[in-house]
Structures are given as C-alpha cells and as structure tokens.
Amino acid sequence: MNDHAVRATVARVFAEVFEGEDFAFSDQLSRETLKAWDSLGHIRLIGALEEAFDTRFTIEEIERFTGVTPILVRLSAGA
C-alpha cells in the first residue's frame, strides 16, 4: 500500500469511528484538537485501524499515537 492509499484508508477509519463529530482529517489532527478522541475513542480507533490494515500495534505504539502523524508514519513504514 502506498502512502496515498494509507492516508486514504486512515481518513476513512477516522470518519467511521468519529462519525457525527465535527472535524476535518489532516496531519495536524490530534487528541487535543478532537474532543471525541478520548481514551475510549482511542481504543475504538485502534481497533478499527488494526482491522483495516490487518495489523497489531504494541502498547507502546498505541500510547505514542497522540495524533494523525505518528499513525501515518507507523502504517507507511510497513503495515
């Protein structure tokens, strides 16, 4: 999957998980800027990303995913 496809899939997952929330997907989007991305929202997001990319994150990675950018970096580096 190229970077473009990774980004598109991540954006789709965000749209699904945070459906009904008022936000725009971008590299700058973070847990600080999206209110629904709380601890439970994070668990759902991780679950949806793992399913979409058929991968499994470590606890350390999950804790590092405080915004869109680290997620894109991890998934582009080899999902």
């Binding site: 759902r44 399913e51 058929d54 606890i59």
Partner: protein, 636 residues
Amino acid sequence: MPTAPQGPADLPWLPRLSPQFRADLAALEASPPADWGLALRALATQHIGLTQATALASSLARLQQAHGGNGSLTGLRLGLASNATVDFLKPMLTASALRHGLALEVISGDFGQVAQQAMDPQSTINRARPDAVLIAVSQAGLPLRAGAAWPPFAAAPALAELGAIRDGFRSHSGALCLVQNLPTPPQLLFGSLDAATRGTLRAETTAFNRALAADVGKHGDLLIDVEWLAQYLGLTRWYDERQWHMARLPCALAALPLYADFVARALGALRGKARKCLVLDLDNTLWGGVIGDDGLDGIFLNVGDARGEAFREIQQTALDLRSRGVVLAVCSKNDDATARAPFREHPGMLLKESDIAVFMANWDDKATNIERIARQLELGLDAMVLLDDNPAERAQVRAALPQVAVPEPGGDPSAYPAQLLAAGYFESAGFTAEDLARAADYQANAARAQMLTGARNLDDFLRTLQMRIAFAPFDLQGRKRITQLINKTNQFNVTTPRYTEQQVAGFQESAHHYTLQVRLTDKFGDNGMIGVVICEKQPREWRIDTWLMSCRVLNRGVEQAICNRLAVDAAAAGAQRLVGTIIPTARNGIVRDLYQRLGFAQPASDAQAWTLELSQYRPHATWMSPDETRGAQASA
C-alpha cells in the same frame, strides 16, 4: 482490500450492514412509522458495530421520549455489575436487545464495585429495582489466585465471593440474576497436565464452572455460558490483553457484538421473545438439488455422499430442535405432491411428514405462506424462523415480514446447522416437561384448524366476505401500481409480459386495446388493485394479451368475475369470442388450467389459443357485488 472470510465475531447469520444504515435510521426518526419499535428492531437486525449500536441506543431513547413508552418493544431494566469497563458494552447491549424485541435500560454501578453494589441495599443498581442483573465478573474480578506458593489458584473462595454477590443482588434488588461463568484461560502452565492438576488456573476454572452450573438452578439464577462463547469464538480472539491492560475491556473489542447478542438473547428468552417455530425450505435446504427438476433419484440425500450427508445433518438439527419443543413447518415453492415425495419415498430422509406441523408447498410467495403457517399454529410472526438457501426469498420475507427471523444460512449446506444454532433464536431460560410435549401440541392444533377450514363450505365463506369488486380502464392515478403489478407478478400471470410505465400509458391511449384494472374490497378492508387485464381488440375477437392477479385474492372467484366482465364488454363491442394463450413459466403453475376452469374451448395443440364463444357464454356465479362508488377514480 480483500475481505476476510466471516468468523463468529461477525455474527454471520445476520445480513451485512447496509451502507444506508445512517440514512435509514434518520428517516425512521424523522417520520416514525406506527410500529416504530418493529422498524428499529429491523434496523438492529444486521451486523452492526459500536458506532451503529450507539446511534441505535440514542434513537431508542428519543423515540421512547417522543412516544411516551416502548411501543411494540418490551421494556426490561438491567443492572450491569462488572469488574470491566462497560462504556462500550452498554450501547452494544441496548442495540442487541432491540434485535430480540426488547427496549433495554441498563444501569451500571461504579467501575470495580461489584461486591459493594451487590451488598449495599442503597447501591445504584439495587435502588433502581431492575428486572434482571447481569453479573459479569471475570477471573480478574474474583479471588481465584490463592497465593504465591503452590497451589497458585483455588476455585472455592471465588465461588464463595460470587455466591455472596448473587445473594446480595437477589435479596436487595429482587431481580433475577444472570451469572456468567468463566472463560477458559488462554495459557497453560505445564501443558496438558494443567487440565488434570488441581491448583492450575485451567483446572480451577473448570471446577469453578462445574460448581456454578450445578448451583445456579437452586437459587433461580440463570447461567450465561461465557465459557462456551469464548471457545466458540476462539480464545485468542476472545482475549485481548492489550485492551485489558489499557482499558479494562471485558473481552476483545471485536468480540463485543457477539457477546452482547449472546446476553441479549437470554434477556429476550426471559421476556418470552424466543422463537418457537422453524420454517424449512426444501430444495437445496433439506436436500441438495431441486426435486421438481432432479427427481427422487437426482437429489443429494445419501450417506456416503458428502453433499448428501451435509443435508442430512440439517435435517438432524431440525429433529433435535423438535425434540426440545421447537415446532417444525415446511414452506416451499413446489407442487404439494412433488414436495412430499421425498418425505414418503426417499430412504435418505431423516425428517418424516409426521414431524412437520404445517406443510405448505404451493406457488404463493413465502411471506404469504409464512403468515398462513403462523395463523394455523396460532403463533405470532415473531415466533417464526425461516431457513432458506435462496437469497431472494430471504430478502422478500425480511422486507415483507420484519418480525420473522431469517438467518443467512452460511455459504455451504455443511455450515447451515451451526449457523442456525449460533444465532440463538431458540434460546430458553428453562426446560420443562411441557416443552417436550409442545411440538406435538402445536401440531395437533394445526391439524384441527386445517380440518375446520376444510369442512367449512367455501361458498358460505365467500358470501360472508362481503366482497365488492371495482372495474375501471387504465387511468393516470392507477398507472404506477399497474406497472408495478405487471413487472412483479410471477404466479398468477398467464403470459408474464413486462411493460414500462410508458407502454402502459400507450395501452391506455390506444384505440385498439381494452384495458382493465380491478380492485377488491371485503369486510376486512380494501385489498387495493388486485388485477390487470389488457386485450388486443380485433374486429371479431379480443385477444387477451395480459391477465394477472395478486395472489392475495386467489380462490375467491375474482377470476370468474373478471371473465364475466370481459365477456360483457367484448360482446358489447361486437366481438364474437375471447382468445387467450398461456405461456408457462417456472412460477405460473397456478394459471395452467385457468382458461379450462373458465369454460374456454381447449386448443387442438399447445401452440394454439383457448377460445370462448361469447354467444354461448353463461356467466359464472360469483359472491361479489359491483362497487360503483369507486370505478374510474380508483387511485393507486
């Protein structure tokens, strides 16, 4: 992206999530139908995730508020006592309970306060006076670990603690307790030896579950068999240690929909929502192949043949369900004699005619037949389950009768038994002697009802219907419905032509065509437009191009009334005869003898037409009066 094959976590017996879900839910809320509870239930009956479950739970709350009650749903207040995070579980439970006909209200205590919630009469859960309490406590929430030295685990203290929790809720809330047993632990300390060595987590969990199963009944509690559920799903899928460490989820997030449905069906059973009747399709459901085409020798139903054995396993499952009180019925698009032949003559059949309470083999649509089966058994539609291999039939029944459960059976007949049973339609909170006799009881009642129906004079019955029939040529108001009938009527349709709305308008304008739309009212109400006829007018004869009728009004003398009308109108126009042909299709068996019954002269060969000489025509007796009040201004 490739789609992984469906596993148990995907609730594969449910239809996949519709891309229209969000729009459908919004439409339901914007203009709720009279039975909004049923509509909501139908929306919950697909493979929903947490997002959809949350939306459904919110919609339910708003609809309850707006309508001041639960509508056709049955209310149930559930206390939820868990050592895990229940934020996700709550909406998932509410949405899953909708699927089982319940409007669930979930009251949970503070996180990790199970014992306090149970033993304090003033706790949130006890004060709410719930109908039931789900005690969902895993190994981590019980004092199962005995100490650092050997043996590390012991069941007895954990059983005592759970016993105290159950006693607390029972005495302080008055609720029925649903108690979970423990999932098998995912790891072994020694290996196979764990199962045979007291003191290991595996052995103590097994001992705990055995003791709990023996004890629940004594106190009127109900067991929720999480041990089986986790194994059914697969332990590596049930557990997600990261999610436990990070968020204290009760099971893996992906397992939540299955877990919630598993609990919800038990709650449904408590409220009498369990299904009671399994309706079975025949061709490619009870045997491989099509009996009408393949014949007795051609269907797959033999031991030693893989396909045949798979179908016998489906029959065995039906028999097992019958032995515990589930009523069996047959619903098949077949001629009756053809459909019964395997039951009577095929040595590979496990099911016998005597196992079937209602045997419905004809060419009417399945929804209509399932309604008939329900009526004969005096069961509600929401007691019925249809097992059918044909996706079109499943879709038709789901759309027409959302009350009926229609599982996706699984891609292959070998999957049908497990998938049918995994859906949990026949969940039961108890098993009594009455259950054993139930299937036979229903069967006897159905036979009696059928005898009564047969004994009653048909003419008397028709007279009491007080039918009024209205004839009108095609008009603008009726055009949409006429087009719809022309394009969807398969059974009572002599030639099965398909016309567009424009073509229908063309017939209306044409000087060379005669058109008729027929409507029927009886004492039960308006049946709407139930018949359409188009004739091509020639100087000496009228050729019947199209004649179709709705199956709802079969055997009521409507075809005779239409024939009378055609004869009168054709004679008035100067024609000498009516001419009709029948184009046989796989679905229109019921019209093969139509012209014969109506007194048309038989053609010399199949290729020729049936004719009715108008000078010799004697009108048929009917039991309906003309409805002059409506006629031409009939609307769709």
